[in-house]
């Protein structure tokens, strides 16, 4: 293919790469169509396309932004109708990361379901796990039997996860605006918490740590000390982010008044989380419908009234401080008392116990000795519960938790079997992404990036 600019009016210029059936766009090949001229930006010189588009007599063009675009948080596809630089219509196309997790969960035991749902929104896996486990526990009717220590560990993990999620939101959002330092600070601080997650659950993401009935295992020795040690560093990092962003004139120029969605719009579109709170409504399920013992911790709900991307950012920073305050309270609770971390009912509680051996983490030797050496019944019990799982009485339940992105709900239906009959997740990212049109239409193309980043969508959660 030639890059000679004299060829730019020739309709074959950009079809050279798309003639190959492997790369041809099945929906619209380059060239003239009834709807208008189609340009495919697949390789080649970007200037050619710009020059070519500029040669068109009309200003109105439809741009497919994504599904592979660095500033769309993964595989979000935005279909923008542009009039010059102004977005006249914006639609979001999703589904590029659909992996059928909900369907898969119908063929796994209730406990294995955690392993699937943790992979939905991979930036806030512990919230999805908690929502799922709370729903299973509600179906089982053991909500009140969950040990306090297990609930406290859940709160600890969720609040640390809330910080990492907000850091990713800010880091990637900052990066999309060209603020690389925001990204490096954000990910640096997140790394501290991920190493805590790794210490506690064994994994940096996709933990499957929170299980129906409690958590997979108690905090390892030294975990609380490690958390205490990172807290001053986190404080310093948060402060650095605040100094970098809060009054930054460039950032404010990009964010203030951008992505406006008022309270009426939020309620109508079912938008929750920092977006709703940026419109002035102090709605937070941790306060208004507490779960996991959130009523025992003192914290505040940051609320602002600008209803724009800037106020959402500021809300997120404030929420990180609040989360840190909760973490400090929880570790005080956890440090004082030992106790079980799994429900006492042996028909539900996961039988296996893990321990650190000379060759890394594995089944605890004491447990192996019991099931293999001393008690045949223990072996049967272990085997039945691990392979077959427990049964859950028929019925349905819906449990919602306040995730970093808004209400994360889990709707579970049981038919009395060892597997979910139906599992559905109300993902805040999925719901909130509906607001793209309301946030972007009438704004500039550059504002679209800021507005979408202020929703904080994670496509793993959107598409599931």
């Amino acid at each position: 293919m030639t890059t000679d600019s004299s060829m730019s009016t020739d309709s074959t210029v950009f079809t050279a790469t798309t003639d190959d059936p492997d790369t041809a766009d099945v929906y619209a090949a380059s060239g003239d169509h009834a709807e208008g001229r189609v340009f495919n930006a697949v390789g080649g010189d970007w200037d050619d396309i710009v020059g070519d588009v500029g040669s068109l007599p009309e200003e109105r063009i439809v741009v497919n932004m994504g599904p592979q675009h660095p500033s769309t948080h993964g595989v979000l596809r935005l279909i923008l109708e542009l009039e010059g630089e102004t977005v006249t219509e914006a639609r979001a196309g999703i589904g590029y990361l659909h992996t059928g997790i909900e369907k898969n969960m119908e063929f796994r035991t209730w406990t294995q379901g955690v392993t699937f749902c943790t992979r939905m929104d991979y930036v806030m896996p512990l919230f999805t796990e908690t929502a799922y486990c709370l729903a299973v526990e509600k179906l089982l009717g053991i909500t009140d039997d969950i040990p306090e220590r297990a609930s406290a560990i859940r709160v600890l993990m969720m609040e640390l996860n809330r910080i990492t999620s907000h850091l990713v939101c800010m880091g990637t959002g900052g990066m999309e605006m060209g603020a690389t330092t925001v990204m490096t600070i954000g990910f640096r601080e997140r790394e501290r918490i991920l190493s805590i997650f790794e210490m506690i659950s064994g994994l940096r993401m996709n933990h499957a740590y929170i299980r129906p009935g409690g958590v997979a295992q108690d905090l390892p020795a030294g975990a609380i000390q490690a958390i205490r040690e990172i807290i001053p560093d986190l404080r310093k990092g948060f402060h650095e982010l605040e100094l970098l962003m809060n009054e930054n004139p460039i950032l404010k120029g990009r964010m203030v008044g951008v992505g406006y969605l008022d309270l009426t719009g939020c309620i109508a579109l079912g938008v929750t989380g920092p977006m709703l709170r940026s419109a002035g409504l102090p709605h937070d399920l941790r306060k208004s419908a507490p779960y996991c013992g959130y009523e025992n911790y003192s914290f505040e709900i940051p609320t602002r009234s600008g209803a724009d991307a800037y106020d959402r950012l500021r809300n997120r920073i404030d929420e990180m401080w609040q989360s840190l305050a909760i973490v400090e309270q929880v570790i005080d609770v956890l440090q004082g008392r030992a106790g079980p971390v799994m429900v006492a009912d042996k028909k539900i509680a996961w039988p296996a116990q893990l321990a650190i051996g000379s060759d890394g983490m594995g089944n605890s030797l004491a447990h192996i000795k019991e099931i293999m050496g001393t008690s045949m019944e223990s072996l049967i019990h272990h085997f039945k519960l691990v392979t077959e799982g427990f049964r859950v009485p028929p019925g349905q339940a819906y449990v919602a938790v306040e995730s970093p992105k808004g209400e994360l709900g889990c709707h579970l239906v049981s038919d009395g079997g060892t597997r979910p009959f139906r599992a559905h997740f109300r993902e805040p990212s999925f719901n909130n992404l509906q607001a793209v049109a309301a946030l972007c239409e009438g704004a500039q193309v550059a504002d679209v990036i800021v507005a979408v980043a202020s929703i904080d969508p994670v496509m793993g959660g959107v598409d599931r």
């Binding site: 063929f107 028929p394 919602a400």
Partner: protein
């Protein structure tokens, strides 16, 4: 002291119509949940119904009575199929033709004020003959302190139509599209009912229970791992 049993009210069997009658949706056979292969346990003939919670009997308790009173005052009685109170959650099952009116009343009545429709999800009960497909709406009222209500409508496989609630709850837009995509339930009146998660040209609706599942070929003498619903399992 006599040997006659005491007749304290809590010891008497419940009178008809005073406790919820469960709804049967399918039955289980055998004792161990195995559905494939010969059952040599001797329990193969065992049949037990799958009983879902049925219509609750007044008083429902808590806030539920106030919600039911307000709703019944606003909507004609033929709209309601049953109200289920289970696990601390209220489910109002309504006839599908009355769904828009019920949704509007739930949103607008000051005593109800369920201003947010958070989630729409489908459930496929193949054993529920005549109403195989259920659509479940999860509503929340922030005004009344995060009060929650589940709205449920059913439709048969042969006529999978349910009126859309997008006119009342714009938030239901994508959720209804997803339910159409996954269950093939057609939401009449939806502004653009297109597939959302699956590709536009995808055949079938994957979350339905009759959707064929694929096996996985393995590189051993043409063998394959059977589809998950045809594997040996204990469910």
């Amino acid at each position: 002291m006599t040997d006659t049993p005491t007749s304290a009210p809590e010891n008497l069997p419940a009178g008809p119509g005073t406790t919820p009658e469960p709804i049967q949706r399918g039955e289980r056979t055998g004792m161990f949940g195995a559905t494939r292969g010969a059952d040599t346990t001797g329990y193969g003939g065992l049949r037990s119904p799958i009983l879902f919670p049925g219509a609750a009997v007044r008083p429902y308790g808590g806030d539920f009575d106030a919600v039911a009173d307000a709703l019944e005052a606003r909507v004609s009685p033929e709209a309601f199929v049953r109200t289920v109170i289970d696990r601390g959650e209220m489910t109002v099952v309504v006839n599908r033709e009355h769904l828009p009116a019920v949704a509007r009343a739930l949103r607008d009545d000051p005593d109800l004020r369920f201003e947010m429709c958070l989630s729409v999800s489908g459930v496929n009960y193949p054993a529920d003959v005549g109403s195989e497909l259920h659509v479940v709406y999860h509503l929340m009222s922030i005004t009344h302190g995060c009060r929650r209500l589940r709205l449920e409508v059913t439709c048969p496989d042969a006529d999978p139509h349910v009126p859309s609630v997008v006119a009342t709850y714009p938030a239901a837009d994508w959720h209804e599209r997803e339910t159409w995509d996954m269950f093939g339930i057609i939401f009449d009146g939806h502004p653009s009912l297109t597939r959302i998660l699956m590709p536009d040209d995808w055949p079938g609706h994957p979350q339905r229970k009759d959707y064929p599942l694929g096996g996985i070929p393995v590189e051993y003498k043409g063998g394959s791992v059977p589809p998950p619903d045809q594997r040996r399992s204990y469910n």
